[in-house]
């Protein structure tokens, strides 16, 4: 009986150990080509995470400068480099930073990174995005430290501002597939259109009572057009209006030709 019991135990262990390790194996599997393609598409729909690329420099390697009323920050290296990028982060840590604004070490991100709206991204899109980010070539480029000029900005002001003024999108249970719901998801969360096209209040939060109504003091001191309906159809448009193209059945969104310099200001009105 003893031999039989031992044999049975060994058999059980032989069966259970592979079963127990299945989730780990599944997690460690390389992403499929379809998931990478989806991640690249989501990446593009965010605007290519462009804030993390200095024009004509390595993609996603960070270092782009943003000046604000609180000081100066530089975008982070989001290539999969293990020392200077996100190569040492878990998927969950990257997703937490993206949607909740917390680094792996617990440090709070300055909301130049629009995590309050990225919080509205669906989990599946974020997972695919992370898979894609891991697939690009790693670049060893140390992050530049931020220069905060407001006393107690991160310990007091920022948490209070986030609680009092920052609107927060909520993630959908699934990715909207089509129609107005899909458009809303892309505009409000993934493409984070409101971050530039919505004017800001004196607290520098987006004024969502005037959602997408244009921003006279956008990034790089640019005038960001009003893309609400009246502006789309109005007879007298004096400033560039992407809505005309966006509402065309043959719409093509503008892309790289808008780039003007390697330094963007955020929020520009207070710099």
């Amino acid at each position: 009986m003893g031999v039989l019991a031992r044999s049975a135990r060994h058999l059980a262990l032989a069966l259970l150990i592979p079963l127990a390790s299945l989730p780990t194996l599944a997690f460690a599997q390389a992403p499929s080509a379809a998931e990478l393609a989806r991640g690249k598409y989501v990446f593009g729909a965010t605007g290519g995470c462009g804030c993390h690329t200095v024009p004509k420099q390595p993609v996603n390697a960070g270092g782009r400068r943003y000046d604000g009323p609180f000081g100066t920050v530089y975008s982070s290296n989001i290539t999969p480099d293990k020392e200077t990028g996100i190569g040492g982060w878990t998927d969950e840590q990257i997703i937490t930073a993206t949607r909740l604004g917390r680094r792996a070490n617990g440090e709070r991100l300055i909301p130049v990174h629009p995590y309050t709206v990225f919080n509205g991204m669906a989990a599946d899109d974020l997972k695919a995005l992370v898979a894609f980010l891991r697939s690009v070539p790693p670049v060893k480029r140390a992050n530049q430290p931020k220069k905060i000029s407001v006393p107690m900005f991160e310990s007091v002001f920022l948490p209070a501002w986030l609680a009092a003024f920052a609107p927060r999108e909520n993630p959908p249970t699934s990715v909207p597939a089509s129609g107005v719901a899909r458009g809303e998801y892309l505009v409000r969360a993934v493409a984070h259109c409101g971050e530039c096209h919505t004017p800001r209040t004196m607290t520098m939060a987006t004024d969502n009572t005037r959602f997408l109504a244009g921003n006279p003091k956008g990034p790089e001191d640019s005038e960001v057009p009003n893309i609400t309906r009246r502006a789309c159809n109005g007879p007298r448009r004096r400033s560039p209006n992407i809505s005309a193209r966006a509402t065309s059945p043959t719409a093509t969104w503008p892309a790289g030709s808008w780039a003007r310099s390697s330094t963007a200001r955020w929020p520009a009105s207070r710099t």
């Binding site: 690249k40 598409y41 990446f43 593009g44 729909a45 605007g47 290519g48 995470c49 462009g50 690329t53 024009p55 993609v59 996603n60 690009v136 089509s178 129609g179 107005v180 899909r182 458009g183 809303e184 892309l186 505009v187 493409a191 259109c193 971050e195 530039c196 004017p199 005037r210 109504a213 244009g214 921003n215 006279p216 990034p219 790089e220 640019s222 005038e223 960001v224 057009p225 009003n226 893309i227 609400t228 309906r229 009246r230 502006a231 789309c232 004096r238 400033s239 992407i242 809505s243 966006a246 509402t247 059945p249 719409a251 969104w253 503008p254 892309a255 790289g256 808008w258 780039a259 003007r260």
Partner: protein
């Protein structure tokens, strides 16, 4: 946003026609707001 998407691996230009139209349809649902931008 446009000024920061130069040199990336993908961008808004890569959105499918269906997604561009979905965006347009959503934008048309937003109430018109007067907010003059530009001179």
């Amino acid at each position: 946003m446009g000024e920061v998407i130069d040199g990336t691996l993908a961008g808004f230009k890569d959105l499918t026609k269906a997604d561009r139209l979905a965006i347009a349809r959503y934008l048309k649902t937003i109430p018109p707001i007067k907010n003059k931008i530009g001179k």
